[in-house]
């Protein structure tokens, strides 16, 4: 493990026991996050992006969910082996999260001040007065006008974009090592999306916070991320630096994703490409490459065994029979 890696996820598994069977939402995910880096996790709905990150925070609703294995090493300690109290000291303090829908993520019955101050008091041991000053400062950094006045208002008095700014201010108020942003712009207006992403970029750079950005938009990833993990059916199928992946995607799924983004530089009269078929149901998935039914380059071996992960370089890997020794 190199010095600047602050979060190392190894073979993380999170399963949900449902009436229909065992849902392997996350099945052996591994990645590293370096200090100050922005890592994008891309995938379709249901590919396990959010569950991966809830598992890192140990916030999977249980039952029916449980973490079935793996390690999440944060600053030299495995989060999955910590006591509940130790994990609480990390949540909101060392690792914080913002979520998809800012309209429902703030408690509608409590003032913004109450919600922000409780986190700061809890983790930084400040008194309420000092914590409120700190909260106002964070709101100001997050671009909320007249924060001294706005802080005493309730969430419904803010617009969607403003609420996400509040969430960001709240998440960064304890200057965490890692910010997990779970589709932070999906529920927002397109014009606001860019502003929010820029704000996350800006503040994380200023505070030296590493960011895990979960999204299904390749455009978002391209603009913001240093490294990318592409997830499919609960596993990472391709991993690498952002430029490498966009310049030379290896996995047929990644290739398909990039092909299906409309491009401004190559005006085409053809229909926009889309990957045929549907993402698989991950309940009782057999041991095979889950992508083979939709893959243009599927081979016989794909139907019988999950591909070995081919390490192409230190930071680059792909899980596909087309590469590495299986070839």
């Amino acid at each position: 493990m190199t010095d600047d890696v602050i979060l190392q996820v190894k073979d993380l598994k999170a399963y949900f026991k449902l009436d229909e069977g065992l849902l392997k939402a996350v099945d052996g995910v591994s990645f590293d996050l370096r200090k100050g880096e922005t890592l994008g996790i891309v995938g379709e709905s249901g590919s396990g992006k959010s569950v991966t990150n809830l598992a890192i925070m140990r916030l999977i609703p249980s039952p029916p969910g449980r973490i079935a294995g793996g390690e999440v090493e944060f600053m030299g300690k495995d989060i999955l082996k910590m006591s509940e109290e130790e994990v609480r000291k990390i949540r909101g303090n060392k690792i914080s999260m913002i979520f998809q829908d800012p309209m429902t993520c703030l408690n509608p019955f409590l003032r913004i001040s109450t919600q922000m101050v409780e986190t700061i008091v809890l983790h930084q041991g400040l008194d309420k007065k000092a914590a409120k000053d700190k909260a106002i400062e964070m709101l100001k950094l997050a671009g909320i006008p007249a924060p001294e006045k706005r802080i005493d208002q309730y969430p419904h008095q803010f617009s969607g974009g403003m609420r996400q700014r509040v969430m960001i201010a709240m998440a960064l108020s304890c200057e965490p090592e890692i910010l997990i942003a779970d589709e932070p712009t999906t529920a927002l207006d397109v014009t606001i999306q860019a502003q929010i992403l820029e704000l996350i970029n800006d503040l994380s750079a200023r505070l030296g916070t590493a960011v895990i950005l979960i999204t299904h938009s390749l455009g978002v990833v391209a603009g913001m991320c240093d490294a990318i993990c592409v997830m499919y059916a609960g596993r990472i199928v391709e991993r690498g630096n952002a430029d490498e992946i966009f310049a030379d995607p290896k996995h047929p799924y990644t290739q398909g994703l990039i092909k299906s983004v409309p491009r401004l530089d190559k005006i085409s009269t053809q229909r926009l490409y889309s990957i045929p078929g549907q993402p698989p149901n991950v309940i009782n998935l057999p041991d095979c490459c889950p992508f083979f039914p939709r893959c243009e380059r599927a081979m016989d071996v794909c139907k019988t065994k999950y591909p070995k992960v081919a390490e192409l370089s230190a930071k680059r890997s792909v899980a596909c029979w087309l590469y590495g020794e299986g070839k």
Binding site: I90, F99, C105, T119, Y154
Partner: protein
Amino acid sequence: MSRFIVRRFLSVIPTFLIIVTLSFFLIRLAPGGPFAREKKIPPEILANIMHKYHMDEPLINQYFRYVGDVLHFDLGPSFRYKDHTVNELLGAAFPVSITLGVVSLGLAVFFGTLVGIISALRQNKWQDYAAMSVAVLGISIPLFVVGPILMLVFALKLKWLPTSGWINSRAGWTTIIMPSMTLMLPYFAYIARMSRGSIIEVLRSDYVRTARAKGLKETVVIRKHVLKGAMLPIVTYLGPAFSGIITGSVVVEQIFVVPGIGKIFVQSALNRDYTVIMGDVIVYSIILITANFVVDILYGLLDPRISYK
């Protein structure tokens, strides 16, 4: 806020007048009258009685006379209990029913939410199943079954509690235990089920996930972030529950011989004791209107999204 209260209060007046008017004429539509007996009263005596109570005048005159009296807080004489005015009758009985109602509703809310919280937090475990079974029993067993069973067990077998009576009797405050337990049971059960449901819903909400992601202790999450939102539906239910419990006390009062409004209410309806019926209706509707009024204000205090303009 104060403007809202004034406006809301003013809207009560027409509601009240409509209730008084409708009930006044509806009662008069019913066949029979306060002086109809099996043994015929001689017509000249009947005419005297009718004259004394102004019942020989046209109905519309009687109506305006009555409304005028009501506005002076005079509910008139009882036609049946000749020594008493309606004010006296209701003045003695209503405080008893109100006390019983308030105590029962207080117990129902306290135990209902307590049981609701426990079963929500132990969802699908034995505590939850036990609590919800009790709740189903509470909703489905009628009061006139529960009352006598309690009486049989706690008064006759165990001899812990008096069978009947009221606080002013020798047994004192112990008399209120069984009637209030009986009366609260269905409301307790309903509140328990309702609070369980709404707590479970809030526990799954995004803002509770946010609270957990902030590193708050689970006890703080529940106390500070879950309960307030989860209690709103129960506050809304309090208005109808209170009027339900007050009117529903009729049966319980009969079982435990509580000197409340129940007996007077039933008797006056059977006797066509017009003024007493009207008095009942008026007091009940004032309680109902007030209860809903209080709930509206409470709701606004609890939910910042509701603003009074």
